[in-house]
Amino acid sequence: MNARMNASAGEPMDVAAPTGMLHGHAVRPAAGMGRLTGFDADAARRCAGVVDVVVRGNFLAVVAAMPEQAHAGAVALQARWETPRDTLTTPPQMRAVTSHGNATQVLAQGAGRVDATYRWPLASPRADACGSAIADWQHGALHVWLACTQPAALRLELAALLDIAAESILILCDPDPPARHDAFCARQAAADAALMAHAIGRPVRTTFRAAELGNDGPKLRFDVSATLAPASAYTIAATATPGAGTPFALTQTGRAAPYAEASGVDPGLVPPYAVEHLDVSAAQPLGVPPDIAARGQVFAHESHLDGLAAQAGIDPVALRLQWLDDRTGSGLITRVAEQSGWQGPLKGHNDATAGVRRGRGFAYASVIDMEDGRPARTWSAWVADVEVDSRTGDIHVTRVTVGHEREDIASRAKAPTTTLPDDIATATRQLTTGGQRYDDWGDGAPAETSPALAADGAGHDLAPQTRVDIVGTLAGGAAATLPAAAAVANAIHDATGVRLLEPPFSAGQIRQALEHKPSAANKSPRKRAWLLATLAPLTALAGLCATVLPWRAPIAPVAPPGPGLYSAATIERGRLVAAAGDCAVCHTAPGGTRNAGGLALETPFGTVYTTNITPDAETGIGNWSYAAFERAMREGIHRDGRRLYPAFPYTAFAKVSDADMQALYAYLMAADPVVSRPPETQLAFPFNARPLLAGWNMLFHRNEQYVPDTSRSAQWNRGAYLADGLGHCSACHSPRNALGGERGGKAYLTGGEAEGWEAPALTALSKAPVPWTEDDLFQYLRTGFAARHGAAAGPMAPVVESLRELPEGDVRAIAHYVASLNPASPTQAGTQQAAAAQVAAVEARSAAAALRLSGTTDRLYQNACAVCHQGNAGVPQFGEKPSLALNTNLHSARPDNVIQVVLHGASAPPHAGIGYMPGFADSLDDAQVSALVHYLRERFAPDQPRWDGVEDTVARLRKSSH
């Protein structure tokens, strides 16, 4: 599914979200459902900022100018609910989906009958998961913005909710969901926002939090029974916990889920096998969008078939082939089995003494995928290999082999060309549209692998030459990953004999089950902190490591090189290399000894502590040979064979020349050893599984030294070498994908993140109101300040400080190279005049905007900011007076850097002459900071839209220490 476009209408999603929108807050009883018996609308309307109270049946919401105001209004409503008892106790009415033969009777006589109940959670088990959406109802058309990948079912739901034609709904999918995003919550938010926007005729944004779902999130439940003898029989009954799947708004307004009655849209509930006796039934109404339900259904079928095969002692692949009368499916299964070297289960569970037990699992899915507007059959097959440590319960998925096919090849072939530029940037972006975030859950599938796998439509092992990050993409990618959960669960069963009946699977469950085997083996596992979605993309990555990169051996410790080994010239060169590489920036704790480690780096995967790189033999790198050092720098492998987290930018350092690498080693080894044992980095599962990084490296790391581009000048090449290698600019300034891999191609240096700060784009995508010139870049990198742009602050300040060690020529080369990335930037002296004119225009625009502003926040600005930032007022002052109108951060799409600097100041500029800015975290409250940030945007970037989510960002960044 192409997430950048509206699935049915094929319109690009460059329709900007509305400005001046309102914020809605839906009010619900604890479990989501209940009859509304009373509320005080007047009390809510009296609250500041409240625009309206929306009531539709049992749906109740407050719309206000600001989210906090909506929340205050919601509290003032004092809504009263009555929870109908009967809905909780009445067993669901079952509807027969399909049936033939006499399954019940056969099962009653069945000898090797297997019964099990599988559960599939629909929302993220993370307590802080949430989803947001914006809806706008204008001129009979509904526009909805949200992060989603599969809008087809949502469109049906919204049409039913508002009783409008599905064609009048435009869903604009943001393929880059924010952190903590949950697809299930986003659908709820979309329905809430749509109802509110429809009621008041203005754009409304709202957020739904997983916490509103209560203690036990919505789940699908599948009761499955099957037997092989005397005849094959299979029954499956699907039920859902109340409120699962369907947006609450639909139930609350008394409308039925649109697909409840539609026949033939249960894409996976009927197993794709020719069974002699079959009974398939589902609760009426099930109300879960078919695309979401399909994942649970495949999990249930494929886990159960595996259980059946194990019980009967048959090869699970053979069982599928025996039951399948579908040539495409059989062909796919055969090819995948062959490529994976399938020879049946490994039966790791038979060896009770083994610490690490190995297992293999197979799963298959063939469903009708509705997502592209026209139904298409898809086939997917997975073989997963796992290693389970029976002492810790840790699960390592070491390899997967995946095949995927889809009918309707025509639509697939044209998808990339009709709407998407055929380039790496887009492909990379798309790779992250399915299971985009490590903490994602819901309908998000582990899409990292699927496009690559679907590329040639055939069974396809993840051979090392497959560059997943650059292969193109296609429709139907999500379906390729349907069997993932079952394949892994089956492999775990093969390894341990423990059948997991509900994701997410966790080390704790396995450990517990192994300790209490067999009694605990059939119990439904408890919810744990990590998610299957986390595992699945890594699954695929890990496949590479088993076949390509085995465990790395330790390199024997050596005595530290003697003091006279390296010449002073080499050590001096190494000092400059270290400066260019900013080693000390990360390897020095605040106030700590240089290079002794201990700085905490916040990453999306957890906190990584930097290590001691002084030559202390015990706690530092004193006993590292050059070979060990070079391997760490180029391949990210510790001397002892452990893999280092890519927070250490070995991906960039691999480009460093041999001579520089040796000089760096000489310099580090010549330093004074410091005994310092920084805290151990302890990430949560699965990120603590360092072997998985082998797969990561295969995808995102090329161990190649820098090769000069002979068509470019020596200065350009020097700049590129410094910027891409030692300088590791892209480590912060390139966006990263869901797995923390830097995106290359067109995404290269288009902006990223560092320690809670935005690292702005260095390319033509820069938001700077006046384009950066080579001179500006040089000034900035050399002094930390460029008059036409601003000062280096946050994590960039120590980088500039470190660059001060480098000769001027090197810094100029970096500036020259970076300037070349932005072809629009004026590099000739003749264009200086044009730049000066632009500066004047930007300042004049801001001055005009200033005339429109007054009031409390204006006074706040005058008191707190103007003395140092208003160049035309006050007395001549120590330090720069950075122009805010020219500041890139105020023109950025994100308010993060402005908020960071307002809250935490710029207390450590790279150069004292720039001046110091105090942080206002202790003197301004969140509301004042938010108001000030909005004011600054309005005054200094009047051509840019008002920022969204400023209040949330302020609250979040206030807690950060930077």
């Binding site: 106030g591 103007a866 007395v875 002052q877 110091y916 800015m917």
Partner: protein
């Protein structure tokens, strides 16, 4: 907080060594370690100007400038302008105009005026208002302060002329 270490400051033409955390605000070092109590603690956020000193002749809000920033630069506080017997022209003008009520802002007014006159020896009233905009006074001698700065400009020009004549002799 980093550990204190000796840093060398040049304050009012004297070289002084103090042992402090280099991130300590210059104001604290001046008042607590060097007994220069002319600069006052006001808001602590560089907003009110009561702590103003000159660093290399430029006005600086010493409550937000760390001591380390002054290393290698000339710091001038109110004490460095003139003495009771021989006040600086700006001090003399403030005395003559009686431009003080509570006096807490006065250090900042005088030091800022000093920085202003160094850059613009003959400012108009509008320029003075614009220059002192960010020095807050809450008790009400604004008019006297304006007059004092105007008089200071005259006195300073006279003093310079006098000094030049002396030099020619």
């Amino acid at each position: 907080m980093a550990t204190p270490r000796p840093i060398v400051l040049r304050v009012n033409r004297d070289t002084q060594e103090v042992c402090v955390d280099p991130a300590t605000p210059l104001l604290y070092v001046l008042r607590n370690d060097l007994a220069c109590n002319g600069p006052k603690y006001g808001c602590g956020l560089g907003q009110c100007g009561a702590c103003t000193v000159l660093i290399d002749g430029l006005a600086a809000r010493s409550c937000i400038v760390p001591a380390s920033a002054a290393v290698g630069r000339a710091v001038t506080t109110l004490e460095g302008l003139g003495t009771r017997a021989a006040p600086d022209p700006v001090q003399q003008a403030f005395i003559e105009e009686q431009a003080a009520q509570c006096g807490y802002c006065l250090n900042g007014m005088i030091m800022s005026a000093k920085a202003l006159l160094a850059a613009n020896p003959d400012p108009s009233e509008t320029e003075i208002r614009e220059a002192l905009r960010f020095n807050l006074c809450r008790c009400g001698t604004h008019v006297e302060i304006l007059r004092a700065v105007q008089r200071a400009a005259v006195l300073q020009r006279e003093a310079h002329a006098h000094a030049e004549i002396e030099a020619i002799r």
